[in-house]
């Protein structure tokens, strides 16, 4: 098997919210957006061994292993106070691990009898397209795993050609649109949305867009014209694509973005009505 490795920030062995059925979810480290309301901001960056977390840890559970260029984490003394995550200047974490395709396959085999499939998520998982390609091929050629469905949870901010080798191996992609106007998108995520809009169109054409989600962020993307554009976009994809309106929750977001506020029920209803008027079957969560 390939020596290719990926930084995995976590694995959830039973999830009922990451696609149909009971699924194992593999979270990859590193993201190419920086959303204000990111609930897993410690999965955005990569560790540069600056040592801030090592100096901060109240139980001295972290050490720099300079030879192997990694942080050693002592699980026995760590109390998971998460101070390390809070102080990390890189939006990273000392907890993510390098795993090979083989390592991930072993984890899946452990729970294969209980799941419909796997979902890969992030961070931005498409930054690891070569690893994913190998992982998915391995799953599809494994007699005990080939029945599993494979879903990608992506932000779509990726060149179109990156999708090509993966599409024949997967069942679908779940994708967020943070805003339609490039300016608003940049405000929310730090980046423009051209690639994302292209990804949506491309995946829809290839019949691989499973779900399109929109996170309502008051004072940013909740004005009527923006909502109507999002509705138009949702209407442009196949009716078979699941559409979801998500209320931004400010629990667990970074301190510097604590000014963000959750939508009131009136604001949620206002947004919902725009989608309903556009004849979109939308799930609100």
């Amino acid at each position: 098997m390939s020596k290719l490795q990926a930084n995995i920030s976590g694995i959830i062995k039973s999830s009922v919210i990451d696609g149909p059925g009971n699924r194992m979810v593999i979270f990859f480290q590193e993201c190419n957006l920086n959303c204000m309301y990111c609930h897993n901001s410690h999965t955005i960056g990569l560790c540069n061994l600056c040592g801030t977390c090592v100096d901060t840890c109240p139980t001295n559970s972290l050490k720099i292993d300079s030879e192997n260029k990694r942080i050693i984490h002592n699980e026995n003394t760590c109390t998971r106070c998460d101070e390390c995550i809070k102080v990390c200047p890189e939006n990273s974490s000392p907890f993510y691990k390098q795993m090979s395709v083989e390592d991930v396959i072993c984890e899946i085999l452990e729970v294969k009898d209980f799941i419909s499939g796997i979902t890969v998520s992030g961070g931005e998982v498409m930054l690891h397209a070569p690893f994913l390609s190998l992982l998915f091929q391995e799953i599809k050629s494994h007699s005990d795993l080939k029945h599993l469905s494979i879903l990608i949870d992506s932000n779509g901010n990726i060149e179109q050609e990156k999708w090509n080798s993966l599409l024949p191996l997967i069942d679908g992609v779940m994708l967020d649109i943070k805003a339609y106007s490039a300016k608003t998108h940049k405000q929310i995520t730090g980046y423009s949305n051209e690639k994302i809009l292209k990804s949506i169109e491309y995946l829809n054409d290839k019949n691989k867009l499973k779900e399109l989600r929109f996170v309502l962020t008051p004072d940013y993307n909740n004005d009527e014209s923006e909502l109507r554009e999002i509705a138009k976009l949702m209407k442009s994809v196949s009716p078979n694509v699941g559409k979801t309106l998500i209320k931004m929750r400010n629990y667990g977001i970074r301190k510097e973005f604590s000014f963000l506020r959750e939508a009131s029920s009136e604001e949620m209803n206002f947004a919902k009505n725009i989608f309903v008027q556009a004849d979109i079957d939308i799930l609100v969560i």
């Binding site: 009922v16 059925g21 009971n22 209980f114 799941i115 969560i285």
Partner: protein, 513 residues
């Protein structure tokens, strides 16, 4: 005599009991005036100390504990005693069963098994539309709940997907009744995913049905089987004379050595003693009361002594294992640590061997042996965890939980239950439940029961109660006999806080007076 008079007066003047409940308790007091079936003094002491528990079956067994009438036989042949001709259409079939249900004895006074109802009624559907079936079944369901108000009253559906099973699930979701308790017999090769999905959605609303591994359970019986009362699997056309359970925690308290001597000494001694009680009670029922010679169900072939056996139950495995581990100086717990889990398996296998080695009279249904049963607990169990379950509140993640308990499920031909709890979010993705149920059965689980957190229905140990009934009962009594049991369980066993869930039964109520 003075004591009896006082007990009787207490029942008569208890404003929380309705007329029928009073009559049931008065009968229990009358029965208690008889001598207990012939057992050794040591066994009597063990019963008094609740080391061995007869679940308040009474001193003088005059009816079997669990009766599973062969309703199909009755429908086909009619019942002379009740002057019932074989029904010829759906209405007549429902009417026939409604009458028969009221005549089936049990410890609680209400039949614990109402049949594999979809299979029974399918023959009478004729050209009835689904809507007509639905209307008729809804009235039937109301009749069952109002006339058999006991959560141990149990009905089965499946494994085939059919219109009646689906209509029942719909009615369950609409009526939200405690009674009847419900089991879906599930076989991945026979049952459709759609029916299992309907069943799971029904669990979200009313915490039932339980899902039984049909293939695995059916293989343990010569003929048809039914799931009755609290996860007891028993032969149709027969049942169980009695269920006596051994308190593994208490016998561990009495034991003074290590795990090895526990298994070879104390455990063996008390298992044999429990089997002695089972034997004495079965003989009393068959030989002294002559139940099977005199009851119309037996006389008319709706049940047969040959289809009966008895049940050997136990509870408190978790406490037993944890204590034995402690004695070896190890702070290892059942459900959490592999070494403790292994000891648990060893104890269960040893018990099964002892039960299987003992030839019992009148237990032909299981080749002269008792059915082995992990008893799901009653309200007085304060210090003991039900059967072989992992204690409430210390259940591990769902996969570890299943992997801990599944390896011993095959031992329990008399039934076993573990209860799993899911977060409300699963409502949006019921297919996830299907994955887990199928996985659990692949791992060898016999029965899968789950609840949603904060549901209106709560499983106490094997039966259901409504949260509102519990509240009401504490204030003014309840129409359901089992509500008292449940209220006690909630108070005693922390069942409301379990990380996984299930409900209890009514047998001990009379013992209160």
């Amino acid at each position: 005599m003075e004591e009896i008079k006082n007990r009787v007066l207490q029942v008569l003047s208890d404003g929380n009991l309705d007329y029928r409940q009073k009559k049931h308790h008065l009968a229990y007091i009358a029965e208690s005036t008889q001598d207990y079936p012939d057992i050794l003094k040591e066994a009597t002491e063990a019963l008094n100390e609740k080391i061995i528990c007869d679940l308040f079956e009474g001193n003088a067994p005059y009816r079997p504990r669990y009766v599973l009438p062969d309703y199909a036989y009755a429908l086909k042949n009619g019942v002379n005693y009740l002057e019932l001709e074989p029904p010829t259409n759906f209405d007549e079939a429902i009417n026939f069963l409604s009458i028969l249900y009221l005549q089936v004895p049990s410890i609680t006074g209400y039949s614990v098994y109402l049949g594999d109802i979809d299979t029974l009624l399918l023959d009478y559907v004729g050209d009835l539309s689904e809507d007509k079936i639905y209307k008729k079944m809804k009235l039937f369901w109301r009749f069952i709940d109002r006339t058999l108000p006991d959560a141990f009253v149990h009905i089965n559906i499946g494994p085939e997907d059919n219109v009646i099973a689906r209509v029942i699930l719909r009615i369950e979701r609409e009526l939200k009744q405690v009674v009847p308790n419900l089991t879906l017999k599930y076989d991945p090769e026979i049952t459709s995913d759609e029916l299992l999905l309907e069943a799971s959605k029904t669990v979200f609303e009313v915490a039932k049905p339980h899902i039984a591994n049909h293939k695995m359970t059916a293989a343990d019986f010569k003929g048809e089987y039914g799931v009755v009362s609290c996860y007891n699997s028993l032969p149709v056309g027969g049942g169980s004379h009695t269920l006596i359970r051994l308190n593994l925690k208490k016998i561990t308290d009495l034991h003074s050595g290590n795990a090895e001597s526990f298994i070879s000494g104390t455990l063996k001694k008390y298992c044999e003693m429990t089997l002695d009680v089972i034997e004495a009670r079965s003989k009393y029922l068959v030989e002294c009361v002559k139940y099977y010679d005199t009851d119309f169900l037996a006389k008319e072939g709706i049940i047969s002594l040959d289809n009966f056996s008895a049940m050997f139950g136990f509870y408190g495995l978790a406490e037993c294992v944890n204590q034995l581990m402690k004695r070896c100086g190890k702070e290892l717990c059942y459900g959490k640590d592999e070494e403790a889990n292994q000891l648990a398996h060893l104890i269960l296998e040893e018990m099964k061997k002892i039960v299987d080695a003992r030839e019992l009279p009148y237990c032909k249904a299981n080749n002269g042996k008792a059915f082995f049963h992990a008893q799901s607990g009653i309200d007085i169990d304060i210090e003991e965890t039900a059967g072989a379950r992992i204690p409430i509140g210390s259940e591990p993640d769902i996969y570890s939980h299943i992997n801990t308990v599944a390896p011993h499920h095959h031992l329990f031909n008399g039934g076993i239950s573990d209860i799993f709890h899911f977060d409300e979010t699963v409502k949006r993705n019921p297919a996830a439940i299907l994955d887990i149920i199928k996985g659990a059965f692949r791992k060898g689980m016999r029965m899968f029961t789950f609840n949603l957190s904060n549901g209106e229905f709560i499983r106490i140990t094997g039966y259901l109660v409504r949260r509102s009934d519990l509240k009401e009962f504490r204030e003014e009594g309840s129409r359901y006999g089992s509500a008292l049991f449940a209220a006690n369980s909630m108070d005693n066993a922390n069942v409301d806080n379990r990380v996984s869930k299930r409900v209890i039964s009514n047998e001990q109520v009379a013992g209160k007076y």
